[in-house]
């Protein structure tokens, strides 16, 4: 056929046919272009969308590892509770923002509707607790203490409760064995925030919105070990959400268990004794201020000398760590952090700062020996010492004549140290310091580890300070403007404060004679923490090694197969000879037998011949406040350091408490006799608790309850083999999770019964009813 029309075909038709052809082909070209645009240009984007489309994530939270004491008693573990939670996203979808649902929920739970509403609102700068601080996409727990009928009611009438879930969940529990609360050392958990999720997104351990993380204490410092990793199963689903297959599955890995060196029994005694000592101090009259001691805070640390392991660490005021579980109420939050709370969350043992008072004298003694003053030389212990028209009195203005340094420690003679400090100050150039001044007293404090953190395995330890020349200069530079301004305001008739300001303004950068003199007996600007002093006295007791204190003793994998022991590490040796060490040790024994602490020990029936005790008392003065009581003691194996802020004298306020702690540890009776069967911890616990084959850690229990320590037997954890602390569930498939969860709860039955929480069968009903 030819292209030339033979008949019936006008050129108009031909032209129009070509037009049709062009039009039609351009339609197809358009499709091709659009196809390229979607598939090649934006293909990646759509691939992502397609992935999000057909993959659903199911998160299985990891069981957090338990924190155990040295004998395997759980200090922190998990229990199953019926948690009722609300989904904000679901509530917000409702016409009234979920108001009606929350109202109904409050009725069922017998809670105040306002409280329920507050619990599900989001925290921001203006919103006070209670509020939800976690991810807004995560179910917000309204209560973790629902009764089974309440949970069943919510589930059976699910149409009345859209967005509300009632499910058994593992929640953290701090069982306080023997009443050992250990709150500050354990720390607490709270839900992870969106910012934290974002921050950790690309790290090795990303968070899931459901995660809770440790906020303080051991929960925080060992968080990555305890937390484990949540299991995420990604299911391929079709358009109706039906599961077509598993894309990826990561089993939940339970967290490791942390065995600590804490002995719950000793911890309980320490807490109780500290509390009683503070209560007692509040009944004592303080002559200096004309009112009773306030005893507003205190801390005690019990440490193993040879390892730096912490056997007990108590901080007062205390709080109940269980308050954090399942979201904290507004009232409780205010109680813990409010202005009038006295900040019980602070761990005074590592965060409490005070001048050390006379327990600092071991450092001054070491410095004096280092500076060339023989330990057994003769030093004048006069009742007072005058320098530059200023009189520095001995404690209670007592004089002891010519004594050696050992005796000066025993009787805590201030004037001996005043003289030595003044001499050294002058040697170093006095007000016009020489270049390369020895500064023995300051150097020694640094060498003893003061002015920096001990490296304890707890977060937010404070470093304290050694008020040396450098510090003085920095401090002056930071404050001189304010001082000088205040001094100017004084004009012709300056007040006392203004006089001080004037002096500070003019010469605050200088180390004055009075500064050095005060410093030598631990008064003035020196600040130390109880853990620092415990480390120092433990070093005196172990031959001179300054250990990094540890609470964590071993990290045990959930299957029990891997046990990583946390070995003691040190941050230095005391820079003194063995001889000096020995001499000081003898002097500190003297303190306990005939010195300032004798009335609490040697002269009060302490069996010094069997258990050699060393002690040093301290009473630190604080401007505008009552004196801080310090008592630092050690035996061959243990160091006990106690302090009470505004509590009175060292031996007076802290003496009986420290004595009682030793009594309990060594089984010393009131008459001084030793009953070994009553001794809680006569030797450091070297061995780790037994780990059974299935990985559970078997708590070592006392055969019969022991006097004062068994006051709360009901609080003993459910540590039977069927419900081991930090029980771990073997990996579960999503289909069997319901039953497995129920089975896991079975083990906790006793606990529930005791608490009036549901027995396992009821929980099983609830758990089996819904599969996530």
């Amino acid at each position: 056929m030819s292209n030339i029309p033979e008949t019936g075909r006008s050129s108009r038709v031909t032209i129009r046919l070509i037009a049709i052809q062009i039009l039609v082909m351009s339609l197809l070209l358009t499709l091709g272009g659009r196809l390229w645009y979607l598939q090649i240009r934006n293909g990646d984007e759509y691939q992502k969308e397609a992935k999000g489309n057909h993959v659903q994530q199911v998160v299985e939270p990891a069981v957090r590892g338990a924190i155990l004491d040295a004998r395997g008693m759980p200090l922190a573990d998990n229990e199953t509770r019926l948690v009722v939670s609300a989904s904000r996203t679901e509530l917000m979808k409702q016409d009234d923002g979920g108001k009606a649902v929350l109202e109904r929920l409050a009725k069922v739970l017998r809670m105040d509707p306002r409280t329920v509403r507050q619990k599900v609102r989001l925290c921001d700068a203006k919103t006070p607790q209670p509020c939800w601080n976690g991810s807004p996409y995560q179910p917000i727990p309204v209560t973790d203490d629902a009764k089974p009928q309440q949970a069943l009611q919510i589930r059976e009438r699910s149409e009345d409760f859209p967005g509300i879930k009632a499910e058994p969940e593992a929640v953290r529990r701090y069982p306080a064995p023997y009443g050992a609360n250990t709150a500050q050392a354990l720390g607490y958990l709270s839900p992870v925030t969106d910012e934290e999720i974002e921050k950790a997104k690309d790290s090795d351990s990303p968070f899931l919105p459901s995660d809770e993380i440790g906020r303080s204490g051991l929960e925080r410092s060992y968080d990555s070990k305890l937390r484990g990793s949540s299991g995420v199963t990604r299911y391929e689903v079709d358009n109706l959400g039906r599961v077509m297959g598993q894309a990826e599955s990561e089993k939940a890995k339970p967290g490791s268990n942390l065995v600590t060196s804490i002995d719950a029994r000793v911890q309980a005694v320490a807490e109780k004794q500290l509390d009683q000592a503070m209560k007692k101090a509040r009944t004592e009259f303080d002559k200096n201020t004309g009112r009773n001691y306030k005893a507003d805070a205190g801390a005690v640390v019990v440490m193993e000398n040879k390892t730096g392991r912490v056997v007990a660490m108590a901080s007062n005021p205390e709080y109940d760590p269980n308050a954090w579980v399942g979201g904290i109420s507004g009232k409780e939050y205010a109680k813990l952090t409010g202005k009038n709370s006295n900040y019980p969350l602070l761990n005074r043992a590592i965060q409490g700062l005070a001048a050390p008072g006379s327990i600092f004298k071991v450092i001054s003694t070491s410095a004096a020996v280092k500076a060339g003053y023989p330990f057994d030389g003769n030093y004048d212990c006069s009742s007072s010492y005058e320098v530059g028209g200023q009189t520095f009195k001995n404690f209670e203005s007592k004089g002891y004549g010519n004594i050696d340094l050992g005796r000066a420690l025993e009787v805590s003679c201030d004037t001996v140290f005043y003289r030595l400090a003044y001499k050294e100050w002058k040697k170093d150039g006095g007000n016009m310091p020489k270049k390369g001044a020895h500064d023995w007293f300051y150097k020694m404090a640094h060498d003893y580890g003061l002015g920096k953190e001990t490296g304890v395995d707890l977060p937010n330890e404070v470093s304290g300070r050694v008020p040396d020349r450098k510090w003085k200069k920095n401090y002056w530079e930071a404050n001189k403007d304010a001082w000088c301004k205040q001094a100017k305001n004084g004009g012709g008739n300056p007040s006392y404060a203004e006089k001080i300001a004037k002096e500070n303004c003019a010469s605050g950068m200088k180390m004055r004679a009075g500064d050095s003199i005060n410093y030598s007996i631990g008064q003035g600007d020196t600040l130390v923490t109880p853990i620092q002093m415990a480390t120092i006295y433990a070093a005196l007791g172990n031959g001179g090694t300054l250990h990094d204190p540890t609470l964590g003793k071993a990290i045990v994998s959930p299957d029990g197969k891997s046990v990583h022991e946390i070995r003691p590490t040190s941050h230095g040796k005391l820079p003194i000879s063995d001889k000096t060490l020995h001499q000081m040790d003898g002097a500190l024994q003297g303190v306990a037998t005939r010195g300032s602490a004798a009335w609490r020990f040697g002269e009060a029936g302490w069996p010094q011949d069997k258990i050699k005790l060393r002690a040093k008392t301290g009473t630190a003065e604080v401007a505008g406040k009552q004196t801080t009581s310090w008592l630092a003691t050690y035996t061959d194996d243990f160091t006990v350091v106690m302090t009470i802020s505004q509590g009175g004298t060292g031996s007076g306020a802290s003496g009986p408490a420290v004595r009682n702690i030793y009594n309990a540890m060594y089984g010393v009776g009131a008459d001084g006799g030793i009953d070994k069967s009553k001794a809680l911890l006569p030797k450091p616990q070297a061995k780790l608790p037994k780990i059974s084959k299935d990985g559970t850690i078997v708590p070592q229990r006392d055969k019969k309850p022991r006097g004062q320590n068994a006051e709360r037997p009901a609080d003993a954890p459910s540590g039977s083999p069927s419900a081991p602390p930090g029980e771990q569930t073997p990996a579960e498939s999503p289909d069997t999770r319901g039953e497995a969860q129920a089975a896991r709860h079975e083990g906790q039955r006793q606990q529930h019964r005791r608490d009036g929480t549901p027995p396992a069968r009821e929980i099983r009903q609830l758990a089996g009813g819904e599969r996530r």
């Binding site: 030819s2 038709v13 046919l17 039609v24 293909g43 759509y46 079709d238």
Partner: protein, 399 residues
């Protein structure tokens, strides 16, 4: 068959065997447009695979038999090819005399759809229940009979040599031939088919050489009609929603915009090479509704990627290109108009169908020619191919 085919064959000496006649140098077989047939065949094969991929998991549709749709699709395809052969055998010219009857039958069938015999799917009452699970969509056949009917009227005087171009009266009559079924289909309503018919009418008028005034007038009338339909609220809510989703692709991806959004995700996620046949997550997850019929192109886009989906476009392009050649080479106006009508039908229906999956056209229920599942559409398309082949193979009547 042989004696019958003698009667129908019409060419060549009578005594030659069928084989001889088919293989002879001047036989129909040699003169067939094999490039077009091959393109159609490859499209049909790809279509069968895509239909299978889209339906093998749809247990709620395939009654538990993964091959349920595939088998039916292949049977339709075989019948369709048979119809094509039959059409070639008969020849478009011989069919010319039967056009009024065919037209009447198809329009009658379409009217039946509006009676209780009709079945409603996706808001359109466009199917006729034949019983036994078979349905037929008369609108598909109407596309053919409208082309044939209009061509017959418009070409009659021109092909007879009485006129150079059809006169106004003829054009008006031809429009009347189109208008009746369009009205019936509008009542179903099957907007997709109406749109295709409008484009067919436009192409037919263009190819007939009708006055430009008619072309412009028709365009204006089409636009006015669209405005009227919109303004008078003649559209159902689902139809308005489809337009809304088209105008705003981000609209309500879980509701109104669900189809188009999921279709776009399916195609876009295919990338260059696709996820592999039967490996598409959107397809196996059944995220795209009507995937074996109106949205079959999404299976290609997702599983075969730009290469596979592009191949479908190329094959359609080749097929339509060859059809255009046939239209241009035809010496009779009747044949030219028929070819042009088929071209407009294939091209616009493919554009609308693929365009809606790509989000450049609003959603309308139209199958993709050669590829989609659906018997009636398959039959109609292959009959149309038969018409084109017939135009190519049949020598013009001597002028």
């Amino acid at each position: 068959m042989s004696s019958r085919s003698f009667a129908l064959g019409g060419y060549g000496p009578r005594r030659r065997s069928l084989w001889d006649r088919l293989t002879a140098r001047d036989s129909v077989v040699w003169r067939l447009d094999w490039i077009m047939l091959l393109s159609g065949a490859v499209l049909a094969v790809i279509g069968s695979l895509l239909v299978y991929s889209a339906t093998r998991n749809r247990t709620e549709l395939n009654q538990g038999d993964p091959q349920y749709f595939l088998v039916r699709h292949v049977i339709s395809l075989i019948i369709g090819i048979g119809l094509m052969i039959g059409t070639v055998w008969l020849g478009h010219r011989r069919l010319r005399s039967a056009v009024p009857v065919l037209y009447g039958v198809t329009v009658l069938l379409a009217v039946c759809v509006l009676t209780p015999l009709g079945a409603t799917i996706n808001g359109s009452r466009a199917w006729l229940n034949l019983g036994g699970g078979f349905t037929v969509q008369p609108a598909e056949f109407i596309k053919i009979t409208v082309i044939l009917g209009m061509a017959m009227l418009l070409a009659a005087k021109v092909d007879a040599g009485d006129q150079e171009h059809p006169d106004h009266r003829t054009v008006l009559q031809a429009l009347g031939v189109a208008a009746l079924p369009v009205l019936v289909i509008l009542m179903m309503p099957d907007l997709g088919s109406v749109m295709v018919l409008v484009f067919i009418v436009l192409a037919v008028l263009l190819a007939s050489g009708a006055s430009n005034r008619w072309i412009i007038g028709l365009c204006l009338a089409g636009a006015l009609g669209a405005v009227l339909v919109w303004a008078l609220g003649l559209l159902d809510e689902y139809q308005i929603n489809r337009f809304a989703a088209f105008a705003n692709p981000a609209l309500d991806p879980s509701g109104v915009g669900y189809n188009t959004n999921q279709a776009r995700i399916a195609i876009g996620s295919g990338g260059l090479t696709g996820k592999g046949l039967f490996e598409g997550t959107q397809t196996t997850g059944q995220f795209v509704p009507e995937q074996q019929t109106d949205f079959v192109f999404t299976v290609a886009g997702e599983e075969l990627g730009f290469i596979g989906a592009g191949l479908i476009l190329v094959l359609l392009g080749i097929l339509i290109w060859r059809a255009c050649r046939i239209a241009r080479e035809s010496t009779e106006l009747y044949s030219t108009i028929v070819a042009a009508g088929v071209i407009a039908w294939f091209a616009f229906q493919a554009f609308e169908n693929i365009g809606m999956t790509l989000g450049i056209m609003p959603v309308a229920g139209l199958p993709l020619p050669f590829v989609s599942y659906g018997g009636t559409s398959m039959f109609a398309v292959w009959i149309a191919v038969g018409l084109l082949q017939s135009i190519r193979t049949q020598k013009p009547i001597a002028a």
